[in-house]
């Protein structure tokens, strides 16, 4: 127990050092032409943005900890078009995991931005802190599969399953609702998705909340043992829970990545510290 506390303290010290220091090297979001959400991971303009490798660290602060995450590095590029900021994240992943069963987990990646950035006190890069709220945009491979191929039905997941009748086939929608579990109470991860990206906010561990207003979008493609995922967000919205960015402004960005093939989920992840992000004029 004591050993664990010492390790936690050491990790926390390391974290605050990482948070307080203002690393010099950073991402530059170059300005690109097309208007609207920037979704295409294979668009030609990505070549104009310089790629930055971001080291991914084990999550060793909050239980459940994860000492040896699968993904050690993300390769990141950033672009904007004056209205939408977009980040392209690439990492090696030999297995494409986009189905969720009891023992199968989906690949995921997330981008984190401070909602309000005070230069001398950036939020904790690990999901923010009280008074240091962050916007977390999480792309999930199973959502991408839903968007690309439609919601799975049980015969796709279990080809040999036999079911006589479901309540929603014989009851009115309102009466069948109690039998639909999380779907019936509009759990944001259960309901049918229009976008593979969840627009969320957080102010510390265990406080991650899906925002009622969803602004972000994205697209992920797995090819030849590598994910290429684009996450895009409007640079300014009416929401008080989104960052406000403008051409020429600077902010911070941090990342997290999960490898579904090694059952990474929730706190079992790789994370990065803050990386400065500058938006071209």
């Amino acid at each position: 127990m004591r050993k664990q506390i010492i390790r936690l303290a050491a990790a926390a010290a390391l974290l605050s050092a990482a948070g307080a220091a203002w690393p010099q090297a950073g991402l530059n979001a170059v300005r690109v032409g097309p208007a609207g959400p920037i979704l295409d991971p294979d668009a030609g303009f990505w070549k104009s943005a310089k790629e930055m490798p971001v080291a991914m660290l084990p999550q060793m602060i909050a239980a459940p900890m994860h000492a040896s995450p699968a993904v050690k590095e993300l390769r990141v590029r950033a672009v904007h078009n004056g209205q939408w900021l977009s980040l392209r994240l690439q990492w090696k992943d030999p297995t494409k995991n986009d189905v969720m069963l009891t023992d199968q987990f989906g690949d995921q990646v997330a981008v984190e931005l401070p909602i309000e950035l005070k230069k001398d006190a950036p939020p904790n890069p690990m999901m923010g802190n009280k008074g240091g709220r962050v916007n977390i945009l999480q792309w999930r491979a199973p959502f991408q599969r839903d968007v690309d191929h439609g919601e799975p039905d049980i015969r796709k997941l279990y080809p040999n399953s036999l079911v006589d009748v479901y309540p929603d086939q014989v009851l009115r929608a309102t009466d069948a609702r109690p039998y639909t579990g999380a779907l019936g109470v509009d759990n944001p991860i259960s309901r049918p998705r229009l976008s593979p990206v969840l627009d969320q906010m957080s102010e510390g561990w265990g406080t991650m909340t899906v925002k009622p207003d969803q602004h972000a979008d994205g697209k992920g493609v797995w090819q030849d043992g590598e994910w290429r995922v684009v996450i895009t967000l409007p640079m300014a919205t009416e929401s008080a829970n989104s960052p406000r960015l403008a051409p020429g402004s600077s902010t911070l960005v941090a990342f997290a990545v999960w490898d579904g093939g090694t059952r990474e989920v929730g706190g079992r992840k790789a994370w990065s510290s803050w990386v400065p992000l500058k938006l071209a004029k």
């Binding site: 023992d103 799975p152 049980i154 039998y179 579990g181 759990n187 259960s190 706190g267």
Partner: protein, 375 residues
Amino acid sequence: MAKTYNWQIGREMEYPYESARPQKQFAMVMDLNKCIACQTCTVACKTTWTSGRGQEYMYWNNVESKPYGYYPLGWDVNILSRLGVQPMDGPVYRGKTLFDAAPQGEQVLGYLPDDLDYAHPNIGEDDSLGNMAQGAFLQLPHMQWMYYLPRICNHCTYPACLGSCPRQSIYKRPEDGIVLTDQTRCRGYRECVKGCPYKKTFFNPMTRVTEKCIGCYPAVENNRQTQCTITCIGKIRMQGFISVPDRLREDNPIDYIVHVARVARPLYPQFGLEPNVYYIPPVHVPHEYLSQMFGWGVERAIASYRKAAEDRKLLGALLLFGATPEIIHHYKLEGRYTIGYDENHAEIVRVPLSEPIHIRPLYDERHQTYRTNMT
């Protein structure tokens, strides 16, 4: 980790949260000597709660054969082998609980079952694999033995599912101790599926979050026992509330059975969760096996159960099983009856302690024939 007191293991133990016992604690007693695995409870539960999409392989209530039946496959032997051999001499348990044995950076020792482990409940469980030896005869405990183990969520005092959820999506209701998953808050990390040693939280692949036995809380809130209890044709179950041992009420049938007569034991108390389903152990099974499953006190439980006819209060409590759909909070013996009362001491059921016996003559004069016991 906080220090909490677990009366089942007779000592303080570590748990991720401070102890906060509910005002009342949901509890159930099941008499394993009477279960025939008819699965009426399973079907009642399934049709009531888990007939929706994504719940096809989900049984909040299941009945498995022991020692070789499991749902999900191998659930108890898998966690027992991970916990390792522990001293089990009681009444104070000196071995490790699952919280003591948690790996570095985790809240509880657990494992995530394979998806296929849920695929074939009961398949092959009761197949006969051999013959009895020549000259074998039945004795107690039996040479060849098996028994049925009906299981629901134990609505533990120290739930490992709750302790291992990083989002605090699982909560224990202060009014009745029922453990529930918040369906709006859960994000489907499956830490609870990994953490619960009884494997009574389930991942729904359609809604992508966890679901679990809800203790039929809409029924319990209306003073009605759970679906699995009231539909049990063998009347093996009683659902009500249990007190901690130092606040036991002798007129609460569950308190009397568990704390006074001590004929019912929790399932794997050594795990340290203080589970609140209590089992009357089967009398024909070797005590070594039962001790691993129900802890110390099994021999005493069996001895007391076999003398139930001499303990009128115990007999009275046992005869209230399956006698009413309502929750019995108090009971009393009066003449040749055991009487169950609701929370406000209003009578809800009256059961005779013994059935009237009629002895008919061997020769039936009216029909001019001999009566036999052949059908």
